[in-house]
Symmetry: D2
Subunit: 278 residues, 4 copies
């Protein structure tokens, strides 16, 4: 029995859904502490996130909700507790550091299982936080061979999400496919502007007046997955591309941490190649 849970429903839209679902809560004497819905009219899809409280069995509630929801419904009843995450990084510390500091001070609402990096640059830095650090070098290997090592390592952990905190290698479709809707990336541009390599240099050369960062789920195309969060900062002609890169770091880390927080609190639904964020 639990006293509080997040009910997450994602299904084909149908008349009476809110009523039917609210009836389940009402009949079980559950309180609705918080409730958000959205109907994607174009796709005919219904999304709902409700925080309920009372005294109930999670499995029983789930089963009953299944009886009122359409057959295709994706229903979860989730206890609000820390999830487990694996971090992946390369050499840069800002995005990784932001997550580690939040974790060290109990503000992350997640347990960090380990940090995996393709360079050893950040080893000492990560060790300061008493988090296991694994260096999986990629030199002299094919992309597939390297990923095999990484996946073997990952398989030793239980985890809910893999967070690419400036992991600067392109993932193969096989890797991405192995963890669907479980990999979160921070891309250092305001997608879809400046897809691909060195977006700050591209931004500098295009002479834009604003730069940004994008956190998204990773799908086959590295920079094309559903966007979770974005933010921007103004720049001007005085900044070199390295200045833009430096200025961009603050946006990157804030956007990644914000997206991660949304995901950890079960506020993000994937809707085709887009997201619904409650």
């Amino acid at each position: 029995m639990v006293t509080r849970a997040r009910v997450l429903i994602d299904c084909e839209d149908a008349k009476g859904l809110v009523y039917q679902i609210a009836k389940v809560f009402y009949d079980r004497d559950l309180n609705i502490d918080n409730n958000r819905e959205f109907v994607d009219k174009e796709q005919g899809r219904f999304f709902m996130r409700t925080v309920v409280s009372g005294m109930f069995d999670i499995q029983e509630l789930l089963e009953e909700l299944k009886t009122v929801a359409p057959e295709d419904a994706h229903i979860r009843v989730v206890e609000p507790k820390d999830k487990k995450i694996i971090l992946m990084a390369t050499k840069e510390s800002h995005a990784l550091g932001d997550i580690l500091v939040r974790h060290a001070n109990g503000e992350l609402d997640a347990q960090i299982e380990c940090v995996i990096a393709n360079h050893d640059t950040l080893e000492n830095f990560v060790r300061r936080f008493d988090i296991p650090f694994f260096h999986v070098p990629a030199e002299g290997m094919s992309r597939e061979e390297h990923e095999e090592h990484v996946m073997k390592l990952i398989s030793e952990f239980e985890f809910d999400y893999i967070v690419l905190a400036k992991y600067m290698r392109i993932l193969t479709p096989a890797f991405v496919k192995a963890y669907p809707e479980k990999i979160i990336n921070i891309h250092h541009s305001f997608l879809p502007a400046f897809i691909g390599a060195n977006p700050y240099k591209q931004a500098f050369e295009r002479g834009v007046k604003i730069i940004g960062a994008t956190a998204h789920f990773v799908t086959n195309d590295l920079d094309e997955g559903p966007i979770i969060a974005q933010d921007v900062i103004p720049v001007n002609h005085r900044l070199s591309w390295r200045d833009m890169q430096r200025a961009g770091r603050d946006v990157e880390k804030i956007v990644l941490s914000r997206a991660l927080s949304l995901v950890l609190h079960d506020r993000v639904f994937v809707n085709g190649n887009k997201t619904v964020v409650f």
Copy 2:
């Protein structure tokens, strides 16, 4: 009979409210096109804005909703049609002009009944838009006398809201009391910073790096009513206070028009001295 309406409910929070209300819609075979709820835990207050469609009588739906809602409930069932507004101004044209242009091109979702101003500066400008303009001079009159003239004029119109588009006179409590939750003002600062006269000069003298504007309902204290919308822009040491004033105009007009649009679409609930904006 109508086919679409906005249901607006504001009442003491109670268990089962969402269920009871959804049941009314369900039993009458109404579709929920859009639904947003909020519970103010601190005040124990429930807010709901639902767009329903089907075939129904507004008065009947209202009566039935009253039977399931708490006694204190403030319930409205509103057809989505243009509201009527009265504009008040002084000498500045930017906020007024923004509303007039939207109106002229059918983008306001409101009818402008007239413009009332305490100076005649804007007369020709307003006439360009074929909107009645009334100059109610205040010279040589007490505040009360002037407002009497204004109120007499207002009484000749049907209207839903009075919009102060840079009306630069302080209103008496009597005037404000006459139109509760019906007067919308744009204040040229990021309230509650720089309450009172000449906020740009105050902002300049304080050396702030950001200035803003605030749209709010007018209550007894001119700058203290419930805030509907706010926005800001960065400034720096190079701007004189007149430069700040000029830069601020764009924020003022955008914030006022945004707030007005929210109000016209019944998206704003007053909650004590705050607002719930859906």
Copy 3:
């Protein structure tokens, strides 16, 4: 003789430039009221905008500055007075209206010579402002034929800039070439994201969390010219692409008016495919 002018210099960088130029001002007993410089290290290019006051002859000052600047220098000495502009539009009124309102109330620092549109939708609207309106229909004509009519019309006016206030036709290279660095466009996306047709629909389909607008000089590639100003607003899953379009209008008009103001005050230098904005 004038008492105040803007000195605008754009040349290859060289040692002693600031000294040499400041010496000219000093020797002529001119005050530097305002001074901004920028060196593009990568291109080795120097930019300077100085407001000087005193009592002087513009032509003489220009000639003297030429003696101290590198041979390739592009030097202008400009009196701070209203420039002349031609507006071009199609059917949408928001960007056009914003400029017309500023003009009507003496806040534009420019004279509007006329509005040219390929539809007559905005005729009555423009006439309200006592601005000549010319409808140059494009039906049944090749792009070249239509532009011939437009260019003939343009040739009857003296003007400094052509402002495309949501002119929804693609210009031919010949047209663009005829008015180098004189055509300012507002593009309804945060360039370089969503180049091409219907950017709001593209943005909606990509599921971005921020949309924007870009004002730029028009060069051969319609959406590829030097960017003058950009701004953004947050959006979310609840907005349809038409909602995004509506929300985007405010950004479009503010960004275009801001860019226009910068250009009218001689604050924008073109630097290859980028701008230096003082």
Copy 4:
């Protein structure tokens, strides 16, 4: 002899200043790599920050600049190297952590001498970064007694700035006076809104739609010193004041780090109760 320095001049405005100063650089065969000026017309005050390169003696250059500048001129010629800072904190880790992570990864352009805190909560956290941590408890002491201990400790270090990274105690005038223009604070509101205790609660109760943070030099009045940097984020009715506090932390840390970076690069001049930021 050095090859590069920042020249910082702050004096009464006078005709020919730019020329006189540029002449000094020219005569010594120095390159101007970067140059920014500002004249505060209202106060008749001139500010200049120039980065020069070449081969020169700092003391000699300083002496020569003194000969051309007004008597009251405050002139500094500063080598671009790491400054030394002391951090002060209480219990919260976000602002402190942001600075420590930047330092750990060589991105701060400063040496952290130590962290002084009035609680021991952050001791383990700070130790992870190999930075000396001093706990100076305040219990059972008068404000003056406690500060005496802190000042004694401070006196053992060489430092350029004291950074209050969420140091939650009010400083006495005596303390502030001891380190003029050397103490940088982050205030958790968009000053001057919500001066005083618990600004997030104040913001929540006022129902604002935007919250912010302000980094400023500390003068006698804790929240009244010259503002260096500010930023904001949108909030809405769904956030409790604790949610606002949580959301505000990201702005606080980014604003403090941005202000610190500006100060460390000698980009900030104090101008009465305001700043000039180049």
